[in-house]
């Protein structure tokens, strides 16, 4: 049962999928589960809808984890977020306010094929598992495949590269499915959050150019509040700012796509660490990493309910 589910270990895709249905079964008033499509290898792309059922036009926050297969702390965080949100709904007034006024769409594993492959064959697989019949290499970087400045600086057009942008924008069924879902709901989805690892950063648009977004002050303030909240947990420092200057220029990213599609708050987290374990963050660090990130995500979500 979910009460005994261990959130402080990494779980396989199958375990995560059965956990999602169990959360829906045991918390029907707060959790709904649905699929937005199928992956390249035919796996369902499950999403949880978290929030008190009230009027259908509630604002929403989208959180995806596991865009890059080897970044296992992402799916661990998405599960942690759902567990914490449900457990604290009764006694934490801030969380109750969030779940009463917002829906959270949580996608614990975006890149389901890649994640499964990273558990079974290659621990350090990054991309999707699509096949390009002209090349022996598989996979597209799902964070270079979005229809925004697609395949320009910071992405590669070679199928064997880890930053391969794909044969065309939204070529990956996983990207196409999520883009379609968000496009349909863009009036309601007020924030887009994508969880990655590792670098300890909080990034916002633009990735594809050195320029300042029109609502810079509000987004910068939300980011500042988020990393301040994160720091308050264990004193871990996160850098924050536009992805192009804080990390590097890249094109076809999901946060630039979300922003261009009217989602005013689009963030990418790079979680722990800064290069001691890298992708192999030990399970003993799942709890503190997720606890601090929870504070940051709550701060971002709360900023949506306040006027900026």
């Amino acid at each position: 049962s979910t009460a005994q589910y261990n959130y402080e270990v990494y779980h396989s895709l199958e375990e995560i999928q059965s956990w999602m249905f169990e959360m829906n079964r045991t918390h029907p008033k707060l959790v709904d589960v649905f699929s937005v499509g199928k992956s390249y290898e035919g796996r369902p792309l499950h999403v949880l809808q978290l929030g008190k059922r009230s009027h259908p036009q509630k604002k929403a926050v989208w959180i995806d984890c596991g865009v890059h297969a080897r970044e296992w702390i992402g799916p661990a965080f998405c599960q942690w977020f759902v567990k914490e949100a449900i457990n604290s709904y009764q006694y934490d007034s801030a969380m109750r306010r969030l779940l009463n006024h917002l829906n959270f769409y949580i996608m614990p594993v975006f890149n389901v094929d890649g994640y499964h492959f990273s558990w079974t064959k290659d621990r350090f697989w990054r991309k999707t598992r699509s096949k390009n019949h002209k090349f022996h290499c598989r996979g597209v970087d799902a964070n270079r495949n979005w229809k925004v400045k697609w395949c320009e600086e910071g992405a590669s057009s070679h199928p064997c590269d880890d930053t391969y942008c794909g044969p065309f924008p939204e070529s990956e069924p996983e990207v196409k499915a999520v883009a379609k879902f968000l496009r349909k709901r863009k009036k309601r989805v007020k924030a887009y959050i994508s969880i990655h690892a590792y670098a300890q950063m909080l990034l916002y648009p633009y990735s594809y150019k050195y320029a300042t977004i029109p609502n810079f002050n509000c987004v910068e303030s939300a980011a500042h509040n988020a990393v301040t909240a994160l720091y308050s947990a264990y004193g871990e420092r996160y850098r924050y700012g536009p992805a192009s200057t804080t990390l590097y220029v890249s094109s076809g990213s999901s946060i630039d796509w979300a922003y261009r599609n009217g989602i005013q708050y689009a963030f990418a987290f790079e979680l722990r660490d800064t290069g001691h374990f890298g992708f192999l963050l030990p399970e003993s660090l799942i709890n503190p990493t997720c606890t601090e990130t929870m504070k940051a995500v709550k701060a971002i979500a709360s900023s949506l309910l306040n006027k900026c």
């Binding site: 005994q4 589910y5 261990n6 270990v9 990494y10 779980h11 375990e15 064959k121 290659d122 621990r123 350090f124 990054r126 970087d141 910071g154 590669s156 590269d161 880890d162 930053t163 590792y198 670098a199 990390l247 590097y248 890249s250 290069g275 001691h276 374990f277 890298g278 992708f279 192999l280 963050l281 030990p282 399970e283």
Partner: protein, 99 residues
Amino acid sequence: YLYNNRYAGDQVFRITPNNYEEVQVLKQILGHMKVDFWQPNSASLICHNATVDVHVKHNDTHTLCARLNQERIAYRVFISNLQKEIEKQTGYRSSRKRR
């Protein structure tokens, strides 16, 4: 062993190019080796004063060490045996332990 022990002896190097010349040399060295970029995501994104983390196969580690020493580019090995770290990260646990 997890993953059929395929990562035994593989290492992860953290390399810090200090100037433009070292960046160019490093791009040239890594461009000719089959390494897996952890950070940044590709050789083209290497820039000075930004760390480069690369996963190097066990039979290439000595070659890379020699080249970096020869070029006097600063580096350290932050994971000396990848297979061990992988085993440590999840190891073999019964599904019961996961619940």
